[in-house]
């Protein structure tokens, strides 16, 4: 199986403060990879560096075999790498419909962008009912759906998701997880997921990457993390 994303000795941080240290792992195409780890392990920083919001200090990221160094964020989206940040990345003042259209703004194929928009409305029924509502009028779950929908409109090949279940009712977060799995299986989307809720993340993941203090301490099949009690105790605390 080929890897859509190869991260090689990646380091980055905020100004003089290093956060990631020599992070190396691969994400195989068409799988769900969960990044796990305690608070402050560098999970969000990793995603921000992958999507170009942060510049790496050293190391390399290859997406579909191409080096991503120096490619600005807005270009990455066009190449098929979408990032749904923590806190949802929804533009609060724009309506649901406008937010979704924002996701397809740069696309040449407007007909397809419209089609993608309709598909998102079919996937997320609550959004379809709230087209004219502003982003700030949505519930937490609806916002997460909107952020996800906006990312999907770009028809990404790789989706980076930061804490999609944060602050959501367990039922809603479960639904979102199921949906991610289905998108992966149905359309060959690859998902890289950061999640505090280890159980639900491992429930859908193929691979688990465990981080601690800015380093990758383990990258194994998710099934192994699910089943091996000692591993879970040592790295995930349950």
């Amino acid at each position: 199986m080929t890897a859509i994303l190869e991260v090689d000795e990646l380091s980055s941080g905020y100004g003089p403060v290093p956060v990631l240290r020599d992070v190396t792992f691969e994400v195989p195409t068409g799988t769900v990879t969960a990044i796990l780890g305690a608070n402050g392990a560098g999970k969000t920083t990793l995603l921000r560096t992958l999507s170009g919001l942060l510049r790496p200090t050293t190391g390399r990221v290859r997406f579909d075999g191409e080096d991503l160094r120096g490619v600005p964020v807005e270009r990455l989206v066009r190449r098929g790498l979408a990032h749904v940040p923590e806190g949802r990345g929804v533009v609060a003042e724009l309506t649901v419909e406008e937010n979704l259209r924002l996701g397809g703004l740069w696309r040449r194929d407007r007909a397809d962008a419209r089609r993608a928009q309709d598909e998102v409305y079919q996937l997320f029924d609550p959004l379809a009912r709230r087209r004219r509502h502003a982003g700030h009028q949505l519930s937490g779950g609806e916002r997460q759906m909107l952020a996800l929908g906006r990312a999907l409109i770009a028809r990404p090949r790789l989706l980076l998701l930061d804490e999609p279940s944060l602050g959501l009712a367990p039922r809603v977060s479960g639904q979102i997880m199921t949906l991610l799995r289905q998108l992966c299986d149905g359309s060959g989307l690859t998902v890289l997921l950061v999640e505090q809720n280890v159980r639900s993340a491992l429930g859908i993941a193929d691979q688990g990457v465990v981080m601690s203090l800015g380093r990758v301490v383990m990258a194994t099949p998710a099934a192994q993390l699910r089943d091996d009690e000692q591993l879970r105790h040592a790295y995930l605390g349950f």
């Binding site: 989206v77 003042e93 724009l94 079919q122 029924d125």
Partner: protein
């Protein structure tokens, strides 16, 4: 992404959901809002508004036609300014200086052509286009700096630009003729309109045309992809970048567009009097412009119209007062200088307390309330 619709996918359906209706209408409600008719609709509104004002100018005496012309000139500026500040969230305090750039461009071009005894009706549109172009270039320079600055820091830098104008005109006296400013041949009505055509009416038409062109362009811009990008960048830069919008380029472009409008407005303003002097483009002008769009309703083009009307009305208020009432000359002179600023400031405070959405926001609320009452007359 496939459009399969698995049963476990988020539903969160409240009991009264109109999902059955939604299935009956496969086109999905509201999808018809996106169409090529927007430009046409704006053009129709513009033509109607233009006709109304032209009919009005036929009835007005010269001075009031000049006031209409000044509203038109200011409208060019406020329309572009409200797009920058209201829709893109970049606070510029230097738009008075951008107006000055446009005004001086028109004056220099017209002077140069007059010196070479060049004549023709094309001089006016040419000089106005150049005014917009030159000011857009200046706006590009400021915008490039602005894209790196946020909020109060941007305001600070643009404020510096606003205070620069008088200094530049005095330093380069050879070109700009210092405090005296420049004079150029006054704009006259074309002979085809008749020998006794009121010149002020012609000026009002010129300003009106410039304002309508600006308004139509801005109205389309606001509703376009670029308009949505502007608002996305204002509200959440990270979300905008992740959606594929180049944030810095959007901000710079917004500044350039806004500057071109200010340059055009400044150029028209210069044409109305046939003179430019640094005193007209002092810091107060920039502050007046900001107050005008805030009072009118930030980010709204209709609010820009209110703002432009207010700018002219309030600047004429002191002279109106001193003419109507016989005031002691000392008091009158003090009023002349300060009354407009004071009234503007007070209006700003009152409007912000009573209607934070500005005049246009208040009007919209009022209409919505009237509409609601008509629909439910019992309440």
């Amino acid at each position: 992404m496939t459009a399969t619709r698995p049963s476990e996918v988020p539903t969160e359906r409240p009991p009264a959901a109109p999902s059955a209706l939604r299935r009956l209408l496969p086109g999905a409600p509201g999808s018809g809002t996106v169409g090529g008719s927007t430009l046409l609709r704006h053009l129709i509104v513009a033509v109607l508004a233009g006709t109304a004002v032209v009919l009005l100018t036929n009835q007005l005496p010269p001075y009031q036609n000049l006031q209409v012309a000044r509203v038109g000139a200011f409208l060019c500026v406020t329309a572009g300014y409200t797009v920058l500040v209201g829709l893109n969230g970049q606070l510029s305090l230097g738009h008075g200086a951008l107006m000055a750039t446009g005004a001086y461009t028109v004056a220099l071009v017209q002077q140069a052509l007059a010196d070479r005894a060049v004549q023709g009706r094309w001089i006016l549109p040419l000089s106005l286009l150049l005014a917009a172009g030159v000011t857009a270039a200046v706006g590009l320079a400021i915008g490039l700096a602005a894209a790196r600055l946020r909020g109060p820091y941007l305001a600070g830098v643009t404020l510096a630009v606003a205070t620069l104008v008088p200094a530049i005109t005095t330093i380069f006296t050879d070109v700009f003729n210092g405090e005296q400013g420049l004079r150029f041949p006054a704009e006259t009505p074309p002979a085809s309109l008749g020998a006794y055509f009121q010149p002020e009416r012609w000026l009002a038409w010129v300003a009106l045309l410039a304002a309508l062109v600006t308004m139509v362009l801005m109205a389309n811009l606001v509703r376009s992809r670029f308009g949505r990008s502007l608002r996305a960048v204002r509200d959440d830069e990270v979300a905008a970048r992740l959606a594929g919008i180049p944030v810095a380029r959007t901000q710079v472009l917004a500044f350039v567009v806004s500057a071109a409008c200010a340059g055009l407005g400044g150029g028209v303003y210069a044409v109305l009097t046939g003179t430019v002097a640094p005193g007209k483009f002092a810091l107060e002008l920039s502050l007046f412009l900001l107050m005008a769009i805030v009072i009118g309703g930030l980010g709204s083009l209709a609010g820009a119209v209110w703002g432009a009307v207010l700018l002219v009305a309030l600047q004429d208020l002191p002279s109106l007062l001193t003419e109507t009432f016989t005031l002691p000359s000392g008091l009158a002179r003090r009023l002349e200088g300060n009354l407009a600023l004071a009234v503007f400031g007070l209006t700003l405070v009152v409007v912000m307390l009573a209607a934070p959405g500005g005049l246009q926001g208040a009007a919209r609320d009022l209409l919505a309330r009237l509409g609601a009452r008509r629909r439910h007359p019992s309440r």
